[in-house]
Symmetry: C2
């Protein structure tokens, strides 16, 4: 499989995809035609969302086609040369993917080698389930199970910061609860970072190290240059 | 129905329930025996959680009994003189309530007048569904539908603060997404505040005003002393 999973679309204070444009272009290589799935967008129209992504990648001669503009979503996936899934609300994204019967269609294409790019919610759905999304459950998908390209969960937008003078759970507390109840590892991607899998080898990029949470209560840091071993053994 | 729904258990810098103990005691009145449902606790044992709540309320001669210490959870609810549902993870709470067949059992008792106290996750489940929880979906409940005592959703721990230099969605952005897709109002409870419903009249306490989010994109502030009208019309 060929996966590029970004933590986020926009680094604080930068323009949309500014930190990741060159990475997206080099991952795609000669493949310039991308089918875009904008289903995670809730307060933006699919057309506007697609145009936004197109604008961000235009300098690399990449062509973005919104799946909603094609007559059949399933056929669009079957014919896709590369697939990108954008961020937004993970629950709305997964629900709409199920409604359009896209889960197995995308699985089939990506397992056949078609390149897959996700960011934020789009990276969440690459894991076994959406159990470690940071999003609010504003709609109910028929299942939490997602694409399952990875043997571990992703936590995008990872941070150890917390609001001052606020009693809500920190990200760490939330993930400690997840690993208490589940045996699946969680790979945490701070903003600005990504995972890239090409033909079985996985690399961590955009940062120097990342945190892994493991059942029942372990948290450890993995150096970027040591990440391939850890990530490929799952 | 008689409901006391707290935003949170612990104000920043205070001890457990310090800000709400007197309110809980006055709401309970002469009813000193409370059945406690600790299912939202994930990284704390049910025994420790129950003891923690007991300690916080001991000065008012309130007796807290953990539902897990009784032979039948359903019978415990059927015999309960007052019910309290504590905070923690909302998904784990609702999943465990379903596993123990407690949804209709609690609904029956509370509709018959038994006093119900919730905080944080325990307040979330008093609404139509858990769609506006702030918690991570670490486990999958059979449904997002919850107790439905209110015609609107609660958002506990409500804040308009956001992490600096972080691109994750703000609370406002998350709730704007909810009302874009749903016609149910959201009543937002800042930390330190609560809703109290007694025989059909609802009051907002612990603060001077609260925010309401309404489909498709309205956000407005309701003054505490005007709240009864707004809240009872749902």
């Amino acid at each position: 499989m060929n996966l590029l999973l970004l933590s986020n679309s926009t680094n604080y204070g930068q323009t949309y995809m500014q930190h990741a444009r060159a990475k997206v272009a080099s991952f795609l290589g000669d493949q310039k035609e991308v089918l875009f799935i904008p289903y995670a967008g809730v307060t933006v129209t699919y057309n506007d969302y697609t145009a936004h992504v197109q604008n961000a990648l235009a300098e690399f001669d990449i062509t973005i086609t919104g799946i909603h503009t094609l007559p059949s979503a399933v056929d669009a996936v079957k014919n896709a040369k590369a697939i990108a899934v954008g961020g937004g609300n993970t629950f709305q994204l997964l629900k709409t993917m199920y409604e359009n019967n896209l889960i197995s269609a995308i699985q089939d294409r990506v397992k056949a080698g078609v390149k897959f790019i996700g960011w934020s919610a789009g990276s969440n759905v690459a894991g076994p389930g959406i159990y470690t999304t940071n999003d609010m459950p504003i709609v109910e998908p028929p299942s939490f199970k997602s694409l399952g390209f990875l043997p571990y969960q992703i936590n995008p937008h990872y941070t150890e910061e917390a609001l001052e003078n606020h009693g809500g759970e920190t990200r760490e507390a939330r993930l400690m609860e997840f690993i208490q109840l589940n045996k699946t590892d969680v790979v945490c991607l701070p903003e600005g970072t990504w995972l890239e899998t090409t033909n079985g080898a996985t690399e961590f990029g955009g940062g120097s190290s990342f945190k892994v949470y493991r059942h029942p209560d372990q948290v450890f840091e993995v150096e970027a240059d040591a990440s391939s071993d850890f990530l490929s053994k799952g």
